[in-house]
Amino acid sequence: MIRSYLFLCALLLTGCFKEPFYHSQSYVFGTLVDISIYGESEARAKVLSNHILQDFQRLHDRLHAWKPSSQGKPSELGALNNAFERGAAPLPIAPDLALILNDAKNLSVKSNGLFNPAIGHLIGAWGFQHDEFNAPRIDSASINQWVLAKPSMNDIIIEHHAAYSTNPAVKLDLGGYAKGYALDVALNYLRREHVKNALINIGGNIIAMGQHGNQAWRVGIQHPRAPTAIATLDLPDGWAVGTSGDYQRYFMLNGQRYCHIIDPRSGYPSQHTQSVTVLVAPQAPHQTQAGVLSDVASKPIFIESVENRSQAAKALGISHFMVIDEKSHIFVSKDMASKLHWLAGDAKFTILP
């Protein structure tokens, strides 16, 4: 009798201590969006999560580089690109788009043009501006043409809430910026809503708020050649992590891998790197935020030559990063080494000076 009474109590107690944890998964931005919220009722977490997803969808529609937002009508970014191509008069743009373009311009300059969202035509020439792409032939004439035209963020002039381009070869593709920006938007929204603990993952780019119960949010880092994580790290409040990999979007041609990360100097995909992961601390207000930086900063490090990688990281203020090169050799910055927990006990890596 007493025993069954105790059993009943235990059952009731487990009901009380159900973890206040909510998780949702959806497809937005042409990728998988994963939202975890801890410490809120399920009903509230669901409302918050849906709000974030709607914000993401709106951003996606506005900033899409090649898809019209509605039947025949180009996206906000598409309309701007059309104006650039025509050499049209300054086109009025939304205040947040002006901030995005100025920030992207600033980051492009800092990275010596290795992060260059103005090379949309080049990305298109490689066939990566499609949801579904077949192995294309390599159109070297078209590629060379777009490299010689030198489209640069500095060709874009933004004044009086309007923008124009001095170079008709400029075509904006914010594929290396928008997901990071969306992370910052989501984090700001959750902070305004006084949410304490959340983890947001947009296609592998992640930002953390608070923690998961009494434990830090833990993130696995994908192995570039195996369907498993290579290491984990704990993501403190406000920190973000991003990876650029040659395994995310690529095609194979004659045994060669051509990935979506294109060196603007040569016009060809970078082939000496498998992946670059950067970890970013919270940034001061009114400058590039952690989400954007985690999205952008991995690209120049990916593209830069082996000997100049640390330099490329430093130019963008990145001290935590990991590089896996074409031979699967792992290089880790000193700061990053202290954050990583390797999942295979015998991981061999070189610490970068």
């Binding site: 998964q25 497809y27 579904e132 792409f133 696995g220 880092i221 498993t228 984990t232 999942l343």
Partner: protein, 138 residues
């Protein structure tokens, strides 16, 4: 006294055995050690998964035990994909997507592993007793 004597004689016998070991015997012992270390690393550090969770779009479609032989056909926005469960593992066997990244992921067997088909919005996640991480950076 008797105790000490017997343990002494045992030691002498052990010494004789070690001296009688041939190169082949040593190889067998070393091979065994390597095997134990290999198994420890693969089975202990990375926990084998017990279940596979299949999601379509934003909904969990089903969770299956990996301890069975089974072929599952699931409809995504692009068409039907085939997922196979066999000998504690799971994989995409067929997918209507162009890139076939999901099929190239191959067999998944450890907790925390996943395969995602973005075009057809189907994902596999392997679950174990513990969760090695909250989310995956890729």
């Amino acid at each position: 006294m008797q105790n000490l004597q017997s343990s002494l004689s045992r030691l002498v016998r052990l010494k004789a055995i070690i001296q009688a070991l041939l190169l082949g015997d040593i190889c067998v012992v070393l091979g065994g050690l390597v095997l134990v270390i290999y198994l420890f690393k693969n089975l202990w550090i990375n926990e084998p998964a017990t279940k596979v969770q299949i999601s379509v779009g934003d909904k969990v479609f089903a969770t299956y035990s990996l301890n069975q032989q089974r072929e599952i056909i699931i409809k995504g926005p692009l068409g039907e994909a085939t997922i196979i469960i066999s000998q504690g593992r799971a994989r995409f066997a067929k997918s209507p997507c162009h890139t076939q990244y999901c099929v190239h992921q191959g067999w998944l067997s450890h907790a925390g592993q996943s395969a995602i088909c973005l075009p057809n919005q189907i994902s596999l996640a392997l679950l174990g007793k513990t969760k090695p991480y909250d989310t995956l950076n890729y």
